[in-house]
Assembly symmetry: C2
Homo-oligomer: 394 residues x 2
């Protein structure tokens, strides 16, 4: 490795990772970059040197959509060339010119998101929530083991890490009350999730099979599905979550390509009862990604993406099984990623047992989620998604 890159030993952004993002600097508008150590390789600049075999104007745009839409055969070659360039380039003013210190850049949403879907694919989370909000004896609903339950979310309010989140105001029905009130949420929560970004358009009316699905998944992000539990509880029957979620969702800025995660594939949990043929998935389709949530300086949750009951291929196959099409830039989130032990629960709702053992988020709190797979020079990390709570608007 070229020493001049100065990749710190515990960096999320090794040469094995090379996630894509959109960044701007004081002197230039948003463009594509790759995170490496504590720097950003300016892809728009590098593209001008002729190292790529595609129209490099896609790198000089405010989202990655056009680049991603080139298809995996092209983007994989681009990745290999970036990797080679970083390994081989000698130290020198021209090479350094292509690198921008991350601390001097502003990071933006990596993709223009078309539709955003949120799944509910952790059996531990669904069980915990079912136990609290519905019949504890039948915590999992009858459909849960047969299909990856999901719903459509709001795309407009997805923001990049670092964007402050204003405590939402909304309708709540206080205990013992006969009429709802319109007040700031008293139960503001995070949800630890990951999300994948769709890398290929599909055709309306043509389902994507489980086996084809991986070709449609470009890469992954960390995702915080901020939730106002009291607003959600009053509104969600019968049509699902709406304003309890749509005030903001936060994503990490660096889009980790699925191919970087290949070494961390693991088998998922056994699915019982067996699933219908269109959802059958064999082999290692989960990913071993360690996840952590901090509220301010305190670690409140350690979880892992491998716990997911339904994998991404199953989610995509189910989503399109009715003919629904997907488009480059669509975002599909996992649902809260809870593990089996109480310290692995991915929301304050679960961690506090519905507020009976501790409270929800306070104004001024900062929630930070991190995630990574592997160690040392092979580490593939996601950086972080963070957000600070602002007081409700008066």
């Amino acid at each position: 490795m070229s020493d001049w890159l100065r990749i710190p030993p515990d960096s999320d952004f090794t040469l094995a990772n090379l996630p894509y993002g959109i960044f701007s600097t004081d002197d230039r508008p948003p463009r594509a970059g790759v995170a490496v150590g504590e720097q950003i390789l300016d892809l728009a600049e590098l593209g001008n040197t002729g190292v790529f075999d595609f129209d490099v104007s896609v790198l000089n745009q405010p989202t990655l959509n056009a680049f991603v839409a080139l298809g995996k055969s092209v983007t994989s070659r681009a990745r290999t060339r970036v990797q080679s360039w970083l390994r081989m380039a000698p130290d020198g003013p021209i090479q350094r010119h292509h690198l921008v210190p991350m601390a001097e850049a502003t990071l933006h949403l990596p993709v223009r998101i078309g539709d955003y879907t949120d799944f509910y694919s952790s059996i531990e989370h669904a069980t915990n929530v079912g136990r609290m909000f519905r019949d504890p004896e039948k915590a999992l609903l009858p459909n849960w083991r047969h299909l990856p339950v999901g719903y459509h979310g709001r795309a407009s309010s997805i923001v990049v890490s670092g964007t402050p989140v204003r405590r939402p105001v909304g309708q709540l029905m206080p205990a013992e009350a006969n009429h709802p009130v319109f007040e700031p949420t008293r139960r503001l929560d995070f949800e630890l999730e990951m999300a994948f970004v769709v890398g290929k358009d599909s055709e309306l009316g043509r389902p994507i099979s489980v086996d084809e699905a991986e070709d449609y998944i470009f890469g992954m992000l960390l995702f915080n599905d901020w939730s106002a539990r009291d607003i959600q509880r009053w509104e969600y029957v019968p049509l699902g979550p709406f304003l309890g979620k749509s005030f903001a969702s936060s994503v990490s800025p660096w889009l980790v390509p699925l191919e970087a995660l290949g070494p961390f594939r693991v088998a998922g949990p056994e699915q019982t009862p067996g699933v219908l043929p269109y959802l059958q998935s064999t082999g290692k389709n989960n990913y071993d990604i360690d996840l952590e949530v901090k509220v301010n300086e305190e670690t409140v949750c350690r979880s892992n993406f491998r716990y997911m009951y339904w994998n991404m291929q199953q989610q995509l196959a189910h989503h399109t099984s009715n003919g629904c099409n997907v488009r480059v830039g669509d975002l599909m989130a996992s649902g809260t990623i809870s593990g089996q032990s109480p310290d692995s629960y991915g929301s304050l709702l679960e961690l506090t047992d519905n507020g009976t053992r501790g409270g929800f988020l306070r104004d001024g709190d900062t929630v930070t989620m991190t995630g990574h797979a592997g160690q040392g020079a092979e580490r593939v990390g996601f950086g972080s998604v963070t957000g600070r709570i602002l007081p409700a608007r008066r």
Copy 2:
């Protein structure tokens, strides 16, 4: 009126209407137009003659988003100029050059839709559905009269009128069965709705008040929210409709500006109990728009948009009350528009009393929805939204 325009006496597209759309012809790609009688005024061509006071490149794009984003002060002036031009222009080859017979044009989705939201704002519909699917004694859920219930829908599968709709395949739980099956829906339905298109971006974190809301509503469309009742029933608890709806939704191609509907404003139904202050709405905020649904040649429903319990301003105020932002091109649908009499129910689910008095849609059926306000030279119509059912993919 210029006789050469030949507007038929029963036309939806009078000089009082002038809805916007996107059309293409054999010789030219999609661009903006205005429907007038049985013709389309080519706005991109007219723009080149200097009649408008804005950058006319927005008229030569495949969606109306950039035009709509100019703001109502600009688009209202454009409307007035189009109206004057149509009234005043003499017959002549130059004038005729700007008009394209609608029969020779292909119509496209008028806007690039960002987020799509579906409300549930007809009290008759919500009551009918609640009676069938939940407790008949408590057909309306506790929150229904306190807030306009809504959910996020799928934007990618919204298609323009005329696009065939393939019968979706999906998971169903047959009566008496213990395991779900994966089969073509047996209960394919339409839902008669209208939708409005957002005409102005709002800021994340800043609610739109009921009084401001009209400024954010550019215009309206007819909307068919195709529904697979058996898929929906098995999947929708607890997170709401997903694949039972996301296989397709159809919109009419002509976007009727809200100002054209001004003469048809009426007061809505009284809301009891009274609503919270952020939803209080006074004056004539409903619209008297006659609606009709035909399955093949048979009229199956006659309804009216004025029946809506929650009006569009309330929907938008509620949607943004938590700080959720909206963007130009967002689509917000009303929910099924049912009236009080059985022949005014806006879905087969209700018209057949859950399939006990007649069936659902068959392969080859064509569903056509039409709507208009007023009569004669003052008539403001929406044309139609139509779709034919193709057999399920094998």
